[in-house]
């Protein structure tokens, strides 16, 4: 195990924020020529960056029906006109989700929510009373469909103890549910499930035996302790923990100037 302790006052902070870093790392996860169903928010920015730098032939699919657009700017919605700009097809939600259900979609890329050690996601409520919750969030949107049907689920979300919790208030979207074999027991398609979690501090994956979340790569200037401190459950560690390469100048330039000049994603704090 390697750790990278922060030497206060010695390490010079690089000139990017951790949200920018998170989007850049997310963009590197996407495989060219694969099919990726892109969720709203941060995944749209990371996918657009990937399309410009690493995966020009990525087949980005959007739940309202857009298939393989060349995005002229960051979509505001997974159903707006940018999601079918110069696309291969402007189709329907039913068609897109049926394509997922018959096993044609390799990845889904989902955004921020509460998450637990099995990768279960909550984007529905905070509180115990479903009809009168403390906070009502949007609900599933397409996330439950995508997390159920796509082969591999990648989640991209900043990390803190409020988001990474022991037990989510509500499983909106299935991760590994209660552990190994649970998805199949529930009736979900065989061989599907969580794959990676990209955060502002580290890249996390899953232990094959237990289906529990583990640390795989630490971002520059982030210590193992800092990752653990920002997580509300016990994280496992991969046999070899790598260091995430920092964002390149080219990544940052394209992200700031072409992908998110309005700061919808990278301007959030």
């Amino acid at each position: 195990m390697i750790s990278f302790p922060l030497a206060k006052g010695v390490v010079k902070m690089p000139d990017y924020n951790r949200l920018e870093l998170m989007v850049c790392v997310g963009s590197r996860m996407l495989e060219d020529h694969s099919t990726v169903e892109v969720g709203t928010g941060v995944p749209m920015a990371a996918t657009m960056l990937a399309q410009k730098l690493y995966a020009p032939s990525i087949i980005a699919i959007f739940e309202a029906g857009g298939v393989a657009p060349i995005m002229p700017g960051l979509p505001i919605s997974v159903g707006d006109s940018r999601t079918f700009h110069k696309a291969l097809m402007a189709s329907t939600m039913n068609d897109v989700m049926e394509t997922c259900q018959r096993g044609m979609v390799d990845y889904t890329f989902l955004g921020g929510a509460q998450i637990d050690m099995y990768g279960n996601l909550n984007s529905t409520i905070i509180g115990d009373n479903y009809q009168e919750p403390q906070v009502r969030f949007p609900g599933s949107g397409g996330a439950n469909d995508l997390g159920s049907l796509c082969w591999k689920t990648i989640v991209i979300t900043p990390m803190d103890k409020r988001r990474f919790v022991e037990k989510v208030n509500f499983i909106t979207t299935p991760g590994y549910l209660s552990g190994k074999g649970a998805r199949e027991k529930a009736g979900l398609p065989e061989g599907t499930g969580p794959y990676k979690v990209v955060t502002n501090l580290a890249v996390l994956g899953y232990d094959e035996q237990t289906c529990r979340m583990r640390i795989e790569s630490l971002h520059p200037n982030v210590s193992l302790e800092e990752v653990k401190e920002n997580c509300g459950f016990e994280l496992l560690e991969a046999p070899e923990i790598r260091m995430t390469p920092p964002p390149t100048n080219e990544e940052l330039r394209v992200l700031r100037e072409e992908v998110d000049p309005e700061g919808y994603i990278i301007g959030r704090q």
């Binding site: 919605s77 159903g79 039913n94 259900q101 599933s140 509500f170 299935p174």
Partner: protein, 333 residues
């Protein structure tokens, strides 16, 4: 942990709409078959076709290609106790819920404005028990519309299983008679009234839509009554010269209203981009109850109709700007 969710056989929340296909057939049997001129006004369409207590389904994608003119008019006429299919329902559900027009909602996506964040006014409305809620996912509602459009009572799918979304739905599990595998059976959804904004329609209600259809072809067919608003009315000859472009046929349609820019402040693919300034203002005003009231007073109750509303939000000058943005034209103004 969560083990109880794996073997649950049915959701515990309320099923708002009867999925009985014979009751739906009885309603569809009465629909007009003839090619009749259905052109009317926003006021009359809402007045005659939407009753207190009806269950509505709204086309488009919440802030893309939504029928804003009809939504505002529903509020202006003070319709009450409406149900809604909250199928990526963003500005549309916010306007109806925050005005107190709704008492129940099948939710797959409400409250959020995607990249723009959450709406406080929608949160206040949906966190209250005044709106009874049942949760689903986007495609489970889309498939429910599909089952309705096919004249069935349910559709088997592989979503929702094992989650609280299933627990707080009204779905049930079913075993496949061929493979023995477990599926989530979703009840068909037959809305009382569907409302869809389209690019072009003729006077009979034959509709063309550019870009993604989302679930609108199914939503339109499953609805017992259907109101169409259209950017422009076109001649029936144009429909007949390109029949493959007809995505909603006239026999589904009960009213056709021509409303140029009728989706503002939403994005109308190929026509105009989101009115970003308006959304910023709306979400800001929604932070307080006073602000929400002021918004309704100014932009809904304070105007006579959608034409006056368009003037108020910036008129032709604003619309030209939004057209240029949509078409990626640097107009310089």
């Amino acid at each position: 942990m969560y083990e109880n969710l794996l073997s649950i056989e049915g959701g515990i929340e309320e099923l708002f709409v009867d999925p009985d296909p014979d009751k739906a057939r009885a309603a569809f049997r009465k629909k007009e078959r003839g090619l009749k001129n259905k052109v009317t006004s926003v006021k009359e369409a809402v007045d005659l076709l939407i009753k207190d207590g009806d269950y509505l389904a709204v086309g488009g994608f919440g802030h893309v290609r939504i029928p804003s003119a009809i939504i505002y008019e529903i509020v202006r006429q003070g319709k009450k106790n409406l149900g809604l299919a909250g199928h990526t329902s963003i500005y549309d559900s916010d306007i109806l819920a925050s005005a107190g027009c709704m008492d129940r909602c099948d939710i797959s996506y409400v409250v959020g404005y995607e990249i723009r964040g959450l709406s406080k006014s929608a949160r206040r409305a949906f966190e209250s028990k005044k709106i009874r809620k049942t949760d689903w996912s986007n495609c489970s509602l889309a498939w429910r519309f599909w089952a309705g459009s096919a004249g069935l009572s349910f559709v088997p799918t592989r979503v929702l299983l094992g989650t609280d979304t299933f627990k707080h739905s009204a779905a049930k599990t079913i075993t496949c008679p061929f493979t023995g595998k477990k599926f989530a059976a979703l009840p068909a959804l037959y809305p009382d009234v569907g409302i869809v904004h389209v690019h072009r329609a003729d006077i009979y209600g034959n509709c063309q839509i550019d870009g993604m259809l989302v679930s609108d072809s199914h939503l339109a067919r499953a609805s017992k009554r259907l109101i169409i608003t259209t950017e422009k009315l076109i001649h029936n000859e144009e429909i007949r010269s390109n029949p493959s472009a007809t995505v909603i046929p006239y026999w589904c349609v009960d009213a056709v209203v021509e409303v140029p820019y009728g989706s503002h402040p939403a994005n109308m693919p190929g026509e105009y981009w989101f009115d970003d300034d308006f959304f910023k203002m709306f979400l800001e005003m929604g932070k307080t109850e006073e602000g929400t009231k002021k918004f309704y007073d100014e932009y809904i109750y304070g105007v006579e109709d959608f034409d006056e509303y368009l003037e108020k939000v910036g008129g032709f000058k604003k619309m030209k700007k939004l057209r240029a943005q949509e078409k990626l034209i640097e107009s310089g103004s």
